[in-house]
Symmetry: C2
Subunit: 131 residues, 2 copies
Amino acid sequence: MRIGELSARTGASVRSLRYYEEQGLLTSTRSAGGQRHYTDDEIERVVFVQRLYAAGLSSRTIVELLPCVDSPSDDHSDAAMERMLQERDRLSDHIEELQRTRDALDVLVTAARAYRDTGRANCGAAATTFA
Amino acid sequence: MRIGELSARTGASVRSLRYYEEQGLLTSTRSAGGQRHYTDDEIERVVFVQRLYAAGLSSRTIVELLPCVDSPSDDHSDAAMERMLQERDRLSDHIEELQRTRDALDVLVTAARAYRDTGRANCGAAATTFA
DNA sequence: CTAGAACCTGACATCAATGTGAGAGGCAAG
DNA sequence: CTTGCCTCTCACATTGATGTCAGGTTCTAG
């Protein structure tokens, strides 16, 4: 398939797909005229890359992880492994912080609701529980 | 306290604190000579703001939420409320996605370990579970 | 063969938060 | 008063992923 179709199927813009290739996250074969051709496998790869992007990994980091996905037997797998564990932990920490923040928002919402319903509770005071 | 101390106590750079003020997220009184002075309450506020930043909210969004923190009785509380619920949901979705991604990394790690230990499992094949 | 859609490269623009540097002024201790 | 540190404003730079535009080429349907 050509780049437009891959774009349509993954939701990634054509621009982004070319950027991914430039960063070494995606490969393509070229037609005689120089147009990029992809196999169906690339769909999955793009989705995976996008997932990692959404998790806050940078292209550089993703590039380090992909070798393991592609060829687990390579020598650099150990480095990639290290990187993966590290990112996994970072992700865990981030998730926990987001959960705390969500809880904080919940407290605010609850306080605001109480205030609205009773006209008495102080939602501002609730904010003091976040420091 | 002056800006340097607030910076030291919150971990936010002096530059960032000025930026927060510019965005309406933080207020200060000025000395005769024009220097910013803060009360201890501002520490808490900065921490709260940073937490929201870390959760991926933009200054614009945070600005919309702060009225509720400051004065829950204001008219715009309803809009802020709406915004808060919306952000809360967005946050929940994001957390779920991060958890899925973490799980995906776990699968990769496990597969890589299995490969390393047995020299047989195919970690590349494991990657096919992420699409 | 031809028109139009899709593609190519390359370059510049964008956004948001923050870094950085210049030049000037405030403020406390000696 | 002076020295040194902190602060002020203003402005430009940075980062990373992506948008967008221009000028040219490839592919495909009719």
